[in-house]
Amino acid sequence: MSDCAIRTTDLTRDFGKLRAVDRLSLEVPAGAIFGFLGPNGSGKTTTIRLLLGLLEPTSGTATVLGQDARTDPGAIRDRCGALLEYSGLYERMTAQDNLEFYARVWHLRPAERRERVRDLLTGLGLWDRRGEIVGSWSRGMKQKLAVARALLHRPALVFLDEPTAGLDPIAAAALRDDLTRLARREGVTVFLTTHNLAEAEKLCDQVGVIRSGRLLAVGRPDELRAQARRDRMEITGRGIDERVVQLVGTQPAVEAAEMGEGRLTLRLRDGQDTSPLVALLVREGVAIDEVRKGGADLEEAFMALVGTDA
C-alpha cells in the first residue's frame, strides 16, 4: 500500500442539479487522523459515502487503501470501519450482541471475537454494562459503542461522521479521549468529519475545509491558523469611525477593512508592510489600545476560509 490511505482526483457527485461534491482532490496520509471540516450540507457525508463505494461518483476518481472506489468498493469496505451519521446500533439488542454480530460479519473466529469484544468494551468502560439493552443507554455511551464496533475488526481506515454530534461537552470530551487513544493504539487511519473546530484542533493531524462541496484548504491545524494569521490584523481603540475605515481600506496593503464588535479588522495582501497602517491611524487621531496581527485560532481560520468563499 502507498503512504496515502485516501487519494481523490476531481471527485464529483451530483444529485440532479445539486452538486454535492465538486472536483474534490485530496490526499490523506496513512496513519493520520484527518479532520474534514465544513458546515452542515457542505458535502462531508456524501464524500464518505463516495469513499466507501456506497455511492458512485458522477465523475473523478477515488482510491482508498489502494482500491478504486468505483470498481472495487467491496475490497474497500472489507478493510474499513465506519461510524456514519447515525450510530447504527441495534437498540433492541445488548451491547455485547451488537459487537458479537459485527464480529461475525467480519468473520472473527469465536475465541478472537470474545477477546476483542472484551478488550474494546473494557477499554471504553462499558464491559460491566455489556448485557444491557442499548436502547436504554445515553447517546454518549451509544457513540462509544459505535466507535468500538467501527474498530472491531482492526480496520486499516475508519470513517467517523460527526462522532460527537449531539453529545454534551463532557461526553464529547470523553469520547474524543477514547477515540484518540484507540486510534493511536490500533495504528488506524481516521477520516473524521465534524463542524466542531475545537474538536478538529485537538484530534487531527491534518484538516481539510469543505464548503458547498468544494475543498477550500488542506493542512495541519497550525498551518491553517498561520494562514489566517498572515492575512489578518485587528485593531482596537477609540476614534475609529466610518471615515477612518474607508481611508484604511484604500491603502495598498489592505484588501478589505471592516468594523465590528468594537474593533477594526483588516484583511491584508501578501507580503505588504503593515507598519504604515498603524502610523496612518495615529495620524488620523485614533487612540490605539491594541494591535493584533494574527492570533487566529482554527475557528477564525475556518470562518475566514468559509467566509471568503461565500
Binding site: L54, G88, V105
Partner: protein
C-alpha cells in the same frame, strides 16, 4: 456467502426473539402464541385435526403473519431505525444481506408453524387420552412441511419486495396484510358470488381431479413464484439505491 447469510439471519432472529431484552420475557410472548395455535385451536377442532388434512389449514396463517411481519421489520425497520446504512457500509454483499433477512423470516414463520403443529398434536393426544396415539395423516405432514415452507418463502420474498418500497415498517406491514388478505379471501369471495350451478360444476370438477398431480403442480407453481419474487427483490436491493432512499 452462506456464513454471511446465516449471520444476518442469526441477528434478525435474535433481535426478534430477544426484543424484550431477556429470553424469559420473550418466551412469555411466544407461550401466549403457542397457547392460541397449539392448545386453543386444536382443542376446538378436536381429533379431526389429525383425521382431516383440511383441518390443519389454520396453521397456514402462522407463517403468513409471522414471516411478513419479520421481513417488514428486517428491511423497512432497519431503514427506519437508521441501522441499514451501517450494515451496507460493512463487507457484506447486497445478496447476502437480503437472503439473510428472507431466511430469518422463513425460519421464524415456518419454524413457529411446525412447533405449533407439534404442540397441537400433543394437545389433541392429551385431550383424547385412551384412544391410542393420534398422528397426522402423511398428506398433512407434507402440507405442513412442504407447502408451509414454500408459503413462508412466498410471503418472505414478496414481503421483502413490499418492504423495499415502503417508507416505514407500519406501511410495509399494512401493504403486506392487504396483499395476504387479497390472496386468501378473493378466491373465497369469487366462489360466493358464482351462481349455484356453476359452483356445483366447480365442486364436481374438483372431486374428479387427481390430488397428487394437483399437489405437485401447486408446489412447482409456488416454488416458481418464490423464485420470481426473490429475483425481483434482489434486483431492487441495491446499495446505492437504498442509500438514496
Amino acid at each position: 456467502m452462506i456464513a454471511d447469510v446465516l449471520t444476518i439471519a442469526w441477528k434478525d432472529l435474535r433481535e426478534v426473539l430477544l426484543q424484550a431484552g431477556t429470553l424469559r420475557r420473550s418466551l412469555r410472548g411466544l407461550v401466549f402464541s403457542f397457547l392460541v395455535f397449539g392448545v386453543f385451536l386444536p382443542l376446538q377442532i378436536g381429533p379431526d385435526l389429525v383425521r382431516e388434512p383440511a383441518a390443519i389449514l389454520p396453521f397456514a396463517w402462522v407463517p403468513l403473519l409471522l414471516a411478513s411481519g419479520m421481513v417488514a421489520d428486517g428491511i423497512a425497520g432497519e431503514r427506519e431505525r437508521h441501522t441499514l446504512e451501517t450494515l451496507l457500509a460493512s463487507r457484506l454483499s447486497d445478496r447476502s444481506i437480503l437472503l439473510g433477512k428472507i431466511v430469518a423470516a422463513v425460519a421464524y414463520g415456518w419454524g413457529f408453524m411446525l412447533v405449533s403443529a407439534l404442540v397441537g398434536l400433543v394437545t389433541v393426544n392429551v385431550a383424547n387420552a385412551g384412544h391410542g396415539i393420534l398422528l397426522y395423516e402423511p398428506v398433512a405432514v407434507v402440507l405442513l412441511g412442504g407447502f408451509g415452507l414454500l408459503g413462508a418463502g412466498l410471503v418472505a420474498c414478496g414481503g421483502a419486495l413490499v418492504a423495499l418500497r415502503a417508507p416505514t415498517v407500519r406501511q410495509a406491514a399494512q401493504n403486506m396484510n392487504l396483499a395476504i388478505f387479497a390472496v386468501v379471501l378473493v378466491p373465497v369471495l369469487v366462489l360466493q358470488v358464482l351462481p349455484l350451478d356453476v359452483r356445483r360444476q366447480v365442486v364436481t370438477a374438483l372431486n374428479g381431479l387427481d390430488w397428487v398431480t394437483i399437489g405437485v403442480g401447486a408446489a412447482v407453481l409456488l416454488a416458481l413464484a418464490d423464485l420470481l419474487l426473490l429475483a425481483a427483490a434482489m434486483a431492487r436491493f441495491q446499495r446505492a439505491r437504498l442509500i438514496l432512499d
